[in-house]
Symmetry: C2
Subunit: 405 residues, 2 copies
């Protein structure tokens, strides 16, 4: 899925350095749709909302989900920057609109980076006119887009899929960023994570919103690095229609196939975020079943995924199931510990309330793998949920104890 | 307060090594009241409850809060140990009762250490007869008690106070343990922390329960190291009556003075736990005011105290107020970020929604102190709460990534 990217038609994209990052690393990324695209988006549920979140939500509403472009900067979150920050986000949109030849409300704006520093928006505005003609529609241009949005990430993250709808091939491609402050909760109730998804399906804004809502809960909302939900989290999905494959009903087979393909792309991107989690080497799936309902299962999975004692045990590849059970026990969800069971990386360690004899070295080796799953069965019902997280390592502490200074 | 301990009359205490810890460190602690004492206690709200928690709660009920002794082992939590674990906890009580000459239900039992390993109770049972005659009522004996309950703690923690009631001097002394898995929530809704409080006040079990309930919310329930609530948390308060200072009404001046003195002892012990938090060098008070009510203020303080990004910034003494505000914004509590203010170690950094220019070096130096406070004003009401926590350091990760293996 991450070999050759299957890129949708109808878009041009790219990225560059405009001087926001002292390192000179890429810090600007642009997407332009050749014609008006359908747009669906999801924004952070944090009460503290960065200026670009406020502006993009407003633009999405005013344009009725029909937009032309995306402009993203990294290196500064433009958050807690007051009226000047809002003006800066609007100025980014206007600079882009001027070059594209559209209205400012047809531009989607995103920022990621440090909170509370004034955004030097003039650097962005100065770079846009030269970058726009340099945009492309091939893999190199998409790679430049995916690099321009990164902050503490160690690598860019892309995924794509194709699906046959109404006799035509629809492409979906996406890129994402995020390594810390990752616990997206888009669906009510609550990262900085940004994800940009492009497709050439022909689909209306309401149906596109429905497709995004159908997949976000089991993909971006099911990952966590550190439990800290960001002020800037944004997922934007643009559909150009350039495939001429029309999806006109949520009941059609085409819509269902589109949703499944979109989910594959979103899940790949979400797991790439976890794999690149700050200081992380492991992607651990947490599969909770046997809860009284799905919401209870999710509460247990989330509490386990956020427990510092579980996460440090994962860092040591230590099959310390007692910490997992103790975290489940404080999740506020009813179950009988005497009936619960836990399997770690394929090794049953606790069954129906009793510790099992197991080979420590086998379990330790299983937990040394890049990717593995822990299964927790609460034996209290049929509710089930799955989360993905990474360990809490000394590396995470090093990265975050001096991020800003 | 921690100079010379003011020890209550009517008790003997002590500690020893019985061989549970491979290191040979003390792992057994005993308290015996010379006559029947009034007892109040609080237990973990984790659904997963260690065998000694189950047994002590049962004994407290059956004895109607009138007990003679405490037996505590460290090095093994006797948790998730099934029927054998319950039998082991009861056997500890019986061994103690046999030597003291009381009924088993007059014995309070506690354990702390690793979860899920069978407790070698025969080592404890073998050690009790020799230790009992060696118990004392002076500072050295109390020091031995306080050492016998430790696990990953780097030092023992004691506090005491005296108060004049009805023309007589009442003493309160306590010891506690806990360095990780610390987020006690005794009051409904929810560490291993253990605390043993002894007093010579003459007070009935119901009034003693009321006194403990009056102080636990603002002391042990207001600290957190890592947000992980343990399966073994227990606070036990024994009153011998040996001072002959009788407290017979919750409306008396004597009761109020007793509660204030008890609160001082509990707060000192609670802050000593934070100061000895795994990998910690700082005790940070989190003072949240201006919330719509006290519960909302506590939710914000707790979310800030548990945020890995805030805690790693504290480790770096980094005045990164953006992370603090972002944590407050995901606490599920209504407020307007444009009106909020933050002061860090006495340095105002954010006022009514705007970043303030401040001297980074002054703030960094303030956050380098052993103890300091952050103030968060939500400007949304009169609700207020205070929590105490420590930073998340590389040391915490090291300690917990290979605690068991």
């Amino acid at each position: 899925m991450n070999g050759t990217l299957l890129l949708p038609r109808g878009f041009r994209f790219g990225g560059a350095s405009c001087g926001l990052k002292r390192s000179g690393a890429p810090d600007l990324a642009l997407v332009v749709a050749n014609a008006t695209a359908s747009v669906a988006a999801a924004f952070t549920s944090n009460l503290v909302r960065a200026a670009p979140v406020v502006v993009s939500e407003d633009h999405l509403r005013r344009s009725r989900g029909r937009m032309r472009a995306i402009i993203v900067n990294s290196g500064n979150a433009n958050c807690c920057t007051g009226a000047a920050g809002l003006a800066a986000a609007r100025r980014m949109a206007r600079a882009m609109a001027d070059e594209v030849g559209c209205r400012p409300e047809e531009v989607f704006v995103c920022s990621t980076g440090v909170i509370g520093k004034p955004l030097k928006v003039e650097k962005i505005v100065a770079a846009v006119p030269a970058l726009l003609p340099a945009l492309g529609s091939g893999p190199e241009a998409f790679a430049a887009l995916s690099r321009g949005i990164l902050t503490t990430d160690t690598r860019s993250k892309t995924a794509s899929a194709s699906v046959r709808i109404a006799g035509r091939t629809v492409h979906i491609a996406g890129c994402t960023k995020g390594a810390g402050m990752i616990a997206p909760q888009f669906l009510p109730p609550h990262a900085t994570m940004l994800a940009f998804l492009l497709t050439d399906a022909a689909i209306s804004p309401p149906l596109l919103r429905r497709a995004l809502a159908a997949v976000i809960g089991t993909t971006f909302d099911s990952i966590t690095v550190d439990g800290d939900t960001s002020t800037n989290d944004t997922v934007a999905l643009f559909a150009s229609g350039a495939s001429a494959a029309r999806i006109s009903s949520a009941r059609s087979a085409g819509f269902r196939r589109f949703v499944r393909a979109l989910e594959r792309v979103c899940r790949s991107l979400a797991l790439q975020i976890v794999a690149d989690g700050e200081g992380a080497r492991h992607v651990i799936g947490i599969d909770v079943r046997g809860a009284s309902d799905a919401r209870s299962a999710a509460a247990v999975a989330r509490t386990i995924a956020h427990s510092p004692l579980v996460k440090t045990a994962l860092a040591g590849a230590d099959p310390n199931w007692g910490r997992i059970l103790a975290a489940a026990g404080r999740a506020g969800v009813p179950f009988d510990p005497a009936k619960a069971s836990i399997t770690l990386a394929g090794v049953p360690v606790f069954r129906r309330g009793r510790p099992l004899p197991f080979d420590e070295r086998t379990a330790h080796a299983g937990m040394g793998r890049h990717e593995y799953t822990m299964h927790v069965d609460l034996a209290a019902g049929r509710g089930r949920a799955r989360m993905w997280t990474c360990e809490l390592s000394e590396g995470y502490v090093r990265i975050n104890a001096d991020y800003r200074t």
